[in-house]
């Protein structure tokens, strides 16, 4: 499946964008133009997740329903659910890990004081230990699936400076069919645009399946690559990355982890 990948800097300014695909599976033109918008729409969700207690487990609450596509309400709900889970879940260990940018902040749980028994405290202290380790491995930066749009899945990764790496995993199962059919229609003549759009929206069947491990490794290597670019004294912070070398490296990393 092809992907659309972008690095988004401060003020939602894109620093870099590219597409990954095997030569036989190009992204259909109509989706190509839509990709930046899909990606942009999920930026707000990512920003919310950044401050959330436990961004990584969000996929647990992330059903097939479209509530996240609508507005902030869905996100607010999931925060609520999360804090509930932290208090009552027997699997509290995993859901007690602090989120991105909260490092060893046990104080984020201080408002749970009323049900903090001795056992609870144990869990907190042990989990904050594993937190630090987790953060050192920058595991927390990877947000996994944050959004989806008619079968196209959006994954994201946040760096410590608040930079966002976002990727749209395009669902091509329906797309290929759509593309050829739209070309045929295009040859026929009139009104192709409308038909075209409707087609691909309804063609997608089911979400794209993402291998989280590989995806995380991909993001981590890109992160490393970005840090190296950042250390170049001639790169001005916040400017688009136009270096062809960077482009080549990103693509080789993508080939390694995403195109199997």
């Amino acid at each position: 499946m092809p992907q659309y990948f972008a690095i988004i800097g401060s003020n939602d300014r894109p620093l870099y964008e590219t597409e990954f695909h095997k030569d036989n599976k190009d992204i259909p033109q109509s989706l190509k133009e839509l990709n930046p918008f899909i990606l942009h729409a999920s930026l707000d969700i990512i920003e919310d997740l950044q401050w959330q207690i436990q961004p990584n487990d969000r996929s647990m609450f992330f059903g097939q329903d479209d509530s996240y596509n609508n507005d902030g309400v869905g996100v607010g709900m999931s925060i609520f659910k999360n804090s509930l889970g932290a208090g009552s879940d027997s699997n509290g260990m995993s859901s007690l890990t602090a989120g991105f940018l909260r490092s060893s902040s046990t104080n984020s749980y201080n408002n749970n004081d009323k049900n903090s028994t001795g056992a609870m405290n144990n869990i907190i202290s042990s989990s904050s230990n594993s937190n630090i380790q987790q953060i050192l491995k920058n595991d927390n930066c990877y947000l996994s699936r944050v959004d989806h749009f008619y079968g196209h899945v959006v994954t994201a990764y946040i760096t410590y400076s608040g930079l966002k790496f976002v990727m749209v995993h395009c669902n091509t199962d329906g797309m290929i069919k759509d593309n050829t059919s739209s070309i045929e229609k295009g040859n026929d003549g009139t009104n192709t645009d409308n038909i075209n759009k409707d087609d691909f929206i309804f063609m997608g069947n089911g979400l794209v399946i993402i291998d989280d491990n590989k995806c995380k490794k991909f993001y981590q290597e890109i992160h490393e690559l970005y840090v190296k670019t950042l250390l170049n004294p001639f790169y001005k912070l916040g400017q688009p990355i136009n270096d062809p070398e960077f482009n080549i490296r990103v693509h080789s990393i993508a080939q390694k982890y995403l195109q199997t």
């Binding site: 250390l231 004294p233 001639f234 070398e245």
Partner: protein, 211 residues
């Protein structure tokens, strides 16, 4: 303790100047390693690299990307470092005067570069009369992470400060040399090469700047 050891080493060095080349180069290698290990305070490499990077970048800004002027400036900055650094170098090593350029090259690569940058450049391309040689920097800590902008690739010698340091330091030990880069991997060349050419040996009696 370490003082007495270094003085014994330096008398050893004086004896060695008459010995064969291979022995001599081996001696300088262990000598340089020893000083690097025991007598040098280390700084974080990234801090060093980025400090230098910022200096070059600031020069680019100040001179509006006039790379010729930037090269000159880096060189003169290096020169000012070199004329001071040689004092520090001699204080640490207590090495005697080098009788010829071959030994000078050995000291530069195996001791000076080792002590201050922890690298050992390769000496190559000797001229027939043994007064000109090349230092090939297999690794260049200054240029780590650096990627030159497109318009700088033809003109800027990013690490030109090294040439200035060598020039200043050698001048203080009465060796008037021409030193400059001839190639740099940052520019897309196969290797990073500094050419060192001895012009003349200055007379001992006249201190610098009092003629």
């Amino acid at each position: 303790m370490s003082k007495s050891r270094s003085s014994s080493l330096s008398t050893h060095a004086a004896n060695l100047s008459s010995k064969t080349g291979a022995n001599q180069s081996k001696f300088f290698k262990t000598f340089g390693d020893d000083i690097w290990k025991n007598k040098i305070e280390k700084v974080n490499a990234e801090l060093f690299i980025m400090t230098y990077g910022v200096i070059v970048q600031q020069l680019c800004q100040d001179f509006n990307n006039d790379y010729m002027k930037i090269n000159e400036n880096l060189f003169s900055m290096g020169y000012n470092i070199g004329v001071r650094l040689i004092e520090d170098f001699l204080a640490r090593t207590a090495l005697p005067r080098c009788p010829n350029m071959i030994m000078t090259s050995e000291v530069i690569t195996k001791v000076a570069f080792k002590v201050f940058l922890n690298i050992t450049p390769v000496v190559d391309n000797w001229s027939s009369n043994k007064d000109t040689f090349s230092l090939i920097l297999v690794e260049n800590p200054l240029a780590e992470f650096v990627d030159l902008p497109h318009d700088a690739k033809k003109q800027l010698w990013y690490s030109n400060i090294i040439c200035g340091v060598l020039k200043g330091a050698l001048e203080m030990v009465q060796l008037d040399c021409d030193i400059g880069f001839v190639s740099d991997v940052l520019r897309g060349d196969a290797s990073t090469e500094i050419r060192v050419k001895l012009n003349k040996i200055l007379k001992d009696e006249i201190p610098l700047g009092e003629d």
